[in-house]
Structure formats: C-alpha cells, structure tokens
C-alpha cells in the first residue's frame, strides 16, 4: 500500500498575472481517500483540472497513475474517472443506456459493458430500474448511479468534484459507503467537498488557501495541530486568512 498514484511537485498554474495554483506539492497513495478542501476561489478546480489532464500546468511536475501531465494526457484520461456535483447523467436516457454510453466512450468491449453493467445494477439494487429514464429517479439514486458509472471502466483514480452537493445527510452517508467500497477495491479517491463531516471520512485531507496547500495530514493530526475539536474549526482557522475573495 505504498504506491503513489498521484504525485505533484511544485505544480503551478498562472493566468497572466494571476497565480491560480501556487506551487502545490503532495502525493496520494493507492486506495487512499484524499480530501481536497478549500474555500471557493482557492484554486481547487484549477488544480483538479490539471490533474485530470484538461489543463496544462505553467510549471512544476505531476504524474497521475504514472503518466506525465504534460505529455500523456490521453493516457491519464483512460486511467481516471470523474464525477461532478451535477451528477452528469442524461435524464432522457434510461439507466442502462447511460451506463452503456459512458462505458462505450471509454472503449469497453460489448462483453465488458454487459458484464460490468449487470454487476453495477446488482450492486446498486437497481436491476428493476434499468429501463427507467434517469430523469425519473430520486436524486440520491442518480448520484450513486453517477458514481458507479464514473468507475465502470475500473480507473485507478476517481476524481469527485463536490459529489454530494445538494443531497440530504442520509443519502450522503450512503454515498460514502460506496466510496469506501471503491477504495477497498484499490481505487484511489480524490474528492473535493464543502462538508466538513465528509472531510472527517477521508484518510488524509489537504486544505488550499489562495492557491497554496496550507495544511495536509490526517483529520486527527490536523485537529491536534490546530488544537481544535472539529475539522470545521481547522478549516475556518485557515480559510479566514485567505486574501482572495470569491
């Protein structure tokens, strides 16, 4: 369990004079649940876009699943999954059609699509819903389906961009069960969130302030370091120093 799947070294992104991400350095281990926190405008999204191969860094080094973010973005894209807070499924397609489509664009064979989607539906307990339109499903189900779809091609890493936005606490809890399960299967989870209770569920948490990683450790150690009782207070302690507004 000591294999680095994400490794950043002084990774920086500038837009003109503005340094959105300022020399961030960290490693993420295989199977780890890595919380990526920060106030709005702290540079989380830009950092994540670089790690996903969507945006080329200005300077610094990073490898994702062993691939270079400058030169091997195509290979990176094949090794990662991605889910955003919009759940990003097609409402007018059925559950099965959505799964088939996303598996299809990752180049899975027909056989693999069949097998994986059957397993996925069974795991989610959605076999009966397979031919229902996604638009008619409750939000919590959509969200779980979106997560499962994001990892249907069995990526090494899955990036979750505020995956639980707008979802009730019970559903959020159930969603985290899925995350733990995926992590148990060796998939690395890279998750951004604004919910501090979720930060507690992570193996390690990094907190970005004004483009820099200001803290990085396990939730327990972070609370000790700042001598506070909750992650909420840790976050508040760091984020109020921020100079950038929204």
């Amino acid at each position: 369990m000591n294999e680095k799947v994400i490794s950043c070294n002084a990774l920086t992104k500038r837009f003109g004079d503005f340094t959105a991400v300022d020399s961030i350095t960290f490693d993420v281990q295989k199977g780890e649940i890595f919380g990526f926190l920060g106030a709005n405008g702290a540079g989380k999204t830009t950092a994540m876009r670089m790690l996903c191969g969507l945006s080329i860094p200005t300077s610094g080094e990073a490898t994702i699943a062993g691939f270079n973010v400058y030169k091997e973005t195509e290979k990176i894209k094949k090794s990662i999954g991605y889910m955003s807070q919009k759940f990003s499924l097609y409402d007018d397609l059925t559950v099965q059609e959505n799964i088939t489509f996303f598996a299809g664009i990752y180049g899975l064979s027909d056989k693999a699509i069949k097998e994986n989607s059957a397993a996925l539906l069974k795991q989610l307990g959605m076999v009966d819903q397979a031919n229902k339109r996604v638009g008619s499903l409750p939000l919590g189900w959509k969200q779980k389906l979106a997560f499962s779809t994001a990892i249907i091609h069995q990526p090494e890493i899955v990036f979750l961009d505020e995956p639980t936005g707008g979802v009730d606490p019970v559903t959020r809890r159930q969603f985290w069960d899925l995350i733990y399960e995926a992590s148990g299967n060796g998939i690395t989870i890279f998750v951004t969130t604004h919910y501090m209770d979720e930060a507690e569920y992570c193996n390690r948490v990094s907190i970005m302030v004004d483009g820099r990683v200001e803290a990085l450790d396990t939730p327990t150690n972070l609370k000790k370091q700042f001598k506070v009782a909750t992650m909420d207070e840790v976050f508040y302690h760091l984020a109020r120093e921020a100079k950038r507004g929204e």
Partner: protein, 367 residues
C-alpha cells in the same frame, strides 16, 4: 470508431425521446410548406432587363427610351438575336426581355397594329407579373400618345411569355426559400442547443475528461442532424411535387448534393454558436435572430435583394442561405446544371470552410 457509433446512437436517442424537438424537426417543414403559399407582393425597382431590337426603327426606339426612362427598369444590354436570350436568362440577373419584331414601325403605320414580345423570368412569379404589368402600361402609354393625333386607332399588343414557370405558380418561389429556412432552423438551432445542453447539464465536463476526443464529440453531435435534415429535404421535395404540383426540373442528385453542402454549412454555424455560448436560451436566441432573420430578409426569398440599399446588398452576400436559395431555384425550377451554379456552390463551400476553421479554433481555446 466504435466509441463514435456509441456516441451517435446516444444522440439519436436524445432526438427521438424529445417530442418537442421531433415536432419541430418534422412538423415545421410540412407546416411551413403548406402555409407559405401566400403571395408576397413587392414593388420592383431597377430590374435588369434586356432588349432585342430587330426593328431598329423610330417606334421601337421611342418605346425603348420610355422604358429606360422609368425607374423600374434598367436596360443592361441590347442583344443582337434571341439566341443570346436564353443564356442571359440563365445567369439569373436578367428578369425580363423585350423583343421588337422586324419592321415594327411599318406594321404599326400600315396595319395599325403591331406586336411586342415580352418574356419574363417567372421563377419568381410575383416579380414577373409586376414587371410585365409595368411594361404593358408603358406600352399602353405610348399607344395612347400615338392615338392622340391620329384619326385611326393604333394598337400595340404586348405578347407576354412567362419563362420557367408559365402558370405563375407561387410555389416555385417559396419552396426553395422554405428549404433554406427549415434547414437553417433545424441544423443551426438544434445543433447549437444540443451541444450547449451538454455544457449546461455538466455532461460536457465528463466527456472532456473521458478519452473521447473533443472533435469527435462535435462530429457525433452533427451526424444525427445531418441525416435528419436529409429526411427533411426529401419530405419537402415530396410535398412540393405531390401536393403543390411543382416538378423538379433539374437533376435531383445535384439538388441533394447542394443541399448536403448547405446542411453542413448550417451545422458548422450551429457548432460555432454553441462554442461561443453557455446557455440554451442564448443559443436559441442567437440562432433565431442571427440566422433565421437574415435568411428571411437577405436570401431574396421574401424581399428582392435588388431593391435594397447597396450596403444591405453587400451584406446579403455573407448570408449562406442566399447562395443556397439561388442554387435551389436554379436547379429545381430552371433545371440548370452544375455549370450554372458552380460559382454559388464555390461561395457556399468557402463560407463553410471558413466557419469550420474558426469554430474548431475557438473550440480548442475553450478547453
């Protein structure tokens, strides 16, 4: 390739699931074809005409001078014989020809009556009727002038011939126009909306993170609309042949090839709009105002371009539908071959390539 097919299949599902879209796609052309039968009257100014004067005598000269003096006509040239006439009409610029027979004056003086042949390009029936009416009344004027000082009444009879569309059906004019309009609407608006929708719902992000190439996203979006638009072309043509009794004079394959080119032009326009906008409403507004209106105004389908101020006439040249309209009219109604529409085709092709390049360029920047 398999990924591409997966994507195209998904796009078809989107279209087929959405009842409203389906209605617009297939209902609109039918409705438009059926209701656009209304004749649009329009005043005609400075129409280009040619004169074939076999007589070259006093009477013919006087009538020509009168015609020339009116603000409705502009005599571009005098042709030596009727052989050149057909060629002149095929260029599409000449709207009418006036032919004076040999010995026109003599006939008039000795037999008290003579004939003038008036030939009009009736592929635009309203225009043709207006022009022939104007010319008849000018001739009538001249006749009245002669009769003032004469004991015997003189009679000059204009013999009117409508070229291309002898029954003066309204349909020839509007079928190509509706084709341009429908294709513009379906391809530009639908493509733009379907791409922008993916941005709005956030699925575009997922697609960009996937190994599926962005250019393929765009291409697979365009394929279903290309095919559906072809279906529309077929249905409009079927309607016009079987319901409006308007046969297709020219080569049907050429017509299809040209339509495909125009569909591609529209698709690239749609892609361009979608790259530049972020919400479905904006995309729709831009498509409607920016594309539909110019098509209505500047294709020459409703309002004759010749009557517009020079600046607007220039502007009309960048409206793709204008060129498509000219092409379809030429092939469908006049039965012209490719050798007569290659220039328009080339212009349309140029516009397409230009749009494709700028939209692909800006699409990359957006990533």
């Amino acid at each position: 390739m398999k990924q591409f097919l997966t994507f195209v299949r998904k796009e078809f599902l989107h279209v087929l699931r959405d009842k409203k879209t389906l209605f617009i796609l297939f209902g609109m052309p039918i409705v438009q074809i059926l209701i656009f039968g209304f004749a649009l009257t329009n005043e005609v100014k400075n129409s280009q005409i040619v004169v074939v004067d076999y007589a070259k005598d006093m009477a013919s000269q006087e009538i020509i001078t009168k015609i020339e003096a009116s603000r409705y006509f502009e005599i571009t040239k005098s042709l030596a014989g009727s052989k050149e006439l057909e060629a002149a009409f095929r260029t599409g610029k000449i709207k009418m020809a006036i032919v004076f027979p040999e010995g026109f004056n003599n006939q008039l003086l000795h037999q008290n009556k003579a004939q003038i042949q008036v030939i009009a390009d009736a592929s635009d029936p309203n225009n043709a009727t207006t022009l022939t009416n104007y010319v008849s009344s000018i001739i009538g004027d001249y006749q009245a002038q002669l009769n003032e000082n004469s004991p015997v009444p003189y009679q000059i009879k204009p013999e009117v011939k409508m070229l291309y569309n002898p029954q003066l059906k309204g349909a020839p004019n509007f079928v190509p126009g509706v084709m341009a309009l429908v294709l513009m609407l379906v391809c530009v608006m639908m493509t733009a909306i379907s791409i922008v929708k993916e941005k709005e719902t956030g699925t575009m992000e997922i697609l960009l993170v996937s190994p599926f190439k962005p250019i393929m996203v765009i291409l697979s979006k365009a394929v279903p609309y290309l095919l559906l638009s072809m279906v529309n072309v077929v249905s409009i043509l079927l309607l016009s042949v079987f319901v409006l009794d308007l046969p297709i004079a020219g080569n049907i394959f050429l017509l299809f090839a040209e339509s495909t080119l125009f569909i591609i032009t529209c698709l690239t326009l749609g892609i361009f709009i979608s790259v530049k906008t972020d919400s479905q409403q904006t995309a729709m507004l831009i498509s409607l105002l920016g594309m539909l209106l110019p098509t209505l105004l500047f294709s020459g389908f409703m309002f004759p371009i010749e009557n517009m101020p020079i600046a607007l006439q220039w502007f009309s040249n960048i409206v793709p539908s204008k060129w498509y309209y000219i092409i379809v009219k030429g092939i469908m109604i006049k039965g012209l071959g490719f050798s007569y529409v290659w220039k328009e085709t080339l212009i349309l092709f140029g516009i397409t390539v230009f749009l494709l390049i700028i939209s692909l360029k800006s699409f990359k920047i957006r990533l």
